[in-house]
């Protein structure tokens, strides 16, 4: 197979990672219109939990993943109770300021506790290296990443389409006032969804260390990419986030292979073009 397929495979893996990081924000933004710029702080938290458990307490990598999910979800519950709840009806700008304040605090805290260096993570040996397949070298970890992300996507879609909880979420995203009118406790629903979304971000952060590294500025650096995925995909849509993440991941990598001079621009140009074509996102409403 021509080498470009190996490169596309890497792009797919990168896209999956972006999806995991973004899906939570897309759903909560669509449901409650709450601008949570601190979303990637939860991702960063998940990453640091993994690093601490592995390097400090010798936990195996796989065991740290659920821990990262739970830690991020718990942190989001606390923040939601203490701060976010009061700002559901506040203006967008106040929400921005609040969540940016939290991002700053999270970055400074991470720098204080862990220092500013890159956090190294030693993967178990069966996740390292690559497998030769039809003349390509496919990284084992990236295959694991793709597999995990696909599994989570299937679980999410199934939960959304077949369970009662999923139906309530869909209703609340579609028309919040109507959903309230039907007796759905939207606030509690939101709290649970928010926790799940942040937990997924935490998981994404943990999985990201091997691919893109972890340091205190992660919370801001990846916020931009997550916002791009969420806006291009459409608010409140899992399919949208998935599609957008794939498009962006693949076009980023393909662009770098074919036209390196445009490498940095491409992801932003693609975003601008897609948004101009579909302002509410690929799968957005209205």
């Amino acid at each position: 197979m021509p080498p470009v397929f190996g490169v596309l495979f890497d792009g797919l893996a990168y896209g999956m990672l972006l999806f995991l990081l973004s899906v939570g924000l897309s759903v909560t933004l669509g449901m409650m219109n709450f601008v949570n710029l601190a979303h990637c702080s939860f991702a960063m938290l998940g990453g640091y939990v993994t690093v601490t458990l592995m390097n400090g307490y010798g936990w195996p990598f796989f065991a740290t993943l659920p821990a990262a999910f739970i830690a991020a979800a718990l942190a989001s519950v606390v923040l939601e109770r203490v701060f976010f709840r009061r700002f559901y009806n506040a203006g967008d700008l106040d929400q921005c300021l609040l969540t940016i304040g939290i991002v700053f605090i999270s970055i400074a805290s991470a720098a204080y506790i862990y220092g500013t260096i890159q956090q190294p993570v030693q993967l178990p040996s069966y996740l390292r290296g690559s497998i030769a397949f039809m003349g390509l070298n496919l990284g084992v970890y990236r295959m694991f990443l793709i597999g995990t992300a696909l599994l989570i996507t299937i679980v999410l879609v199934v939960a959304l389409e077949t369970t009662r909880f999923g139906a309530q979420v869909r209703a609340a995203v579609n028309n919040q006032r109507m959903a309230r009118g039907l007796g759905i406790d939207v606030d509690r629903l939101f709290a649970v969804t928010f926790a799940l979304g942040s937990g997924l971000a935490g998981l994404g952060g943990a999985l990201a260390i091997e691919i893109v590294g972890l340091d205190p500025s992660f919370a801001l650096t990846y916020l931009i990419y997550v916002l791009i995925v969420v806006s291009v995909g459409g608010l409140g849509s899992i399919a949208g986030s998935f599609a957008a993440a794939m498009v962006l991941g693949v076009s980023d990598v393909a662009g770098k292979y074919y036209v390196p001079a445009l490498g940095a621009f491409l992801i932003y140009l693609v975003m601008i073009v897609l948004l101009m074509w579909r302002p509410t996102g690929l799968f957005g409403r209205r």
Binding site: G11, Q118, I211, G263
Partner: protein, 397 residues
């Protein structure tokens, strides 16, 4: 508006008077104030931390009194690349806190901005990390104690061509230092008879190198030269090299020191074995002076020193020795005259401050990543001595 204009000229005169008074000889101090400008917060914070550690270590080892005067430090943060802030901090340090010497400067844009202030106020400025050649030309009071990018990369290029590498493919980050490094390597390599078969520049915060490594592999050169800044990138490169199946026995991988620094090697794992780099310092350097230094550093800070530490340590040495030589006089002209030509044995090896350019003359070590014990280290196996900054040497001719 008229009120403001009147206010301005009155203020201008008052300012002039204040300025003259400020720079007059009436300031009797028995302290020498050093203003350290670094990026203590933000993504370059670790560089600042390591440099600051080395400065503290030097003071601890040598005391804080030199030539009868007490040394005081005032630390200021630029937050990252912010030349307007760096310039303002330099101005404030001189005007408000009356510092005698400016020091630090991990980032080129910040150093270039502060250079103007150093020149105007006639204060010595010691650049302890920023590596772009032209910095020392911006003020006659600048001395550098770190390294310049061409010193490392042009030397590596020449060395490579002289040691069996006939063709090379280069990949660098697409911004100032990367482009400088690319130019320097190409020059050194081609002048010594090598052929560059292709080159690519990748976006600065690029997280994924597989596409670029694949392009390199397609061309099958003798060596792949990579230049990236520190941080997340070295590990990502290492992984891309391993995943795309680059075999170091067939294709050498070469680069500058940051490619294989300590945290990079930890993250890269075995993917880093065999990479050849050019550097001016590594904590594994085998000399009694260095072993002492590393032991003291470990003791104090529980980590190993790196290239940023050595810049700070040598910078402090330069300041202390220059003060001793001037007998405590702190004006820019005396200090820089004392600094020119100063030569000493640093933990990295012998270094000299070039009297003509005030830049650093040092030994470039060629190292290979090897497994030592249960970890990876850079092991020196060749060196090039008395390397001067080639860009300024060319500028003279």
């Amino acid at each position: 508006m008229r009120k403001l204009l009147g206010g301005k000229s009155w203020c201008g005169l008052a300012g002039l008077a204040l300025a003259l008074a400020g720079f007059g000889p009436a300031h009797a101090q028995d302290a020498v104030k050093i203003g350290i400008i670094l990026s203590y917060s933000g993504q370059f914070a670790d560089t600042a931390a390591q440099m600051d550690n080395a400065i503290k270590l030097y003071v601890k080892q040598h005391g804080d009194v030199v030539a009868g005067k007490r040394i005081e430090f005032i630390r200021k943060d630029t937050g990252g690349i912010a030349p307007d802030i760096a310039k303002r901090l330099a101005q404030e340090l001189i005007v408000r806190e009356h510092v005698d010497i400016l020091a630090g400067f991990a980032l080129t844009p910040n150093a270039l901005a502060a250079a103007d202030v150093s020149a105007e106020a006639k204060k010595m400025m010691v650049v302890m990390n920023a590596a772009t050649s032209i910095i020392t030309t911006k003020s006659p009071y600048i001395a550098r104690t770190s390294v310049t990018t061409p010193e490392l990369n042009q030397t590596l290029g020449t060395w490579a061509a002289q040691h069996g590498v006939k063709t090379a493919y280069t990949m660098v980050s697409d911004y100032g230092p990367g482009v400088d490094a690319e130019g320097a390597f190409h020059l050194g390599f081609k002048e010594a008879g090598g052929e560059i078969v292709g080159s690519v520049r990748f976006p600065v915060s690029n997280p994924d190198f597989s596409a670029f490594v694949q392009r390199a592999k397609d061309l099958n050169p003798d060596a792949i030269y990579i230049w990236i800044p520190g941080g997340t990138q070295p590990a990502a490169v290492g992984k891309a090299l391993a995943e795309r199946g680059i075999d170091v026995a067939k294709t050498k991988v070469m680069g500058q020191d940051v490619l294989t620094d300590e945290s990079a090697l930890k993250s890269m794992g075995d993917a880093g074995l065999g990479i050849i780099t050019a550097a001016h310092y590594d904590y594994n350097h085998d000399s009694p002076r260095n072993h002492e230094f590393v032991a003291a550093y470990n003791n104090e800070f529980h980590r190993n020193p790196d290239i940023f530490s050595i810049g700070g340590y040598d910078g402090m040495h330069l300041i202390y020795e220059a003060l001793k030589k001037t007998g405590g006089k702190t004006d820019g002209d005396s200090l820089i005259a004392a600094a020119k030509g100063m030569s000493w044995e640093s933990p990295r090896g012998p270094i000299t401050i070039d009297p003509e350019t005030r830049d650093i003359i040092l030994t470039v070590y060629i190292r290979r990543v090897e497994k030592v014990g249960d970890g990876l280290r850079n092991i020196e196996f060749d060196k090039v001595e008395n390397v001067k900054d080639p860009v300024k040497a060319r500028m003279k001719n």
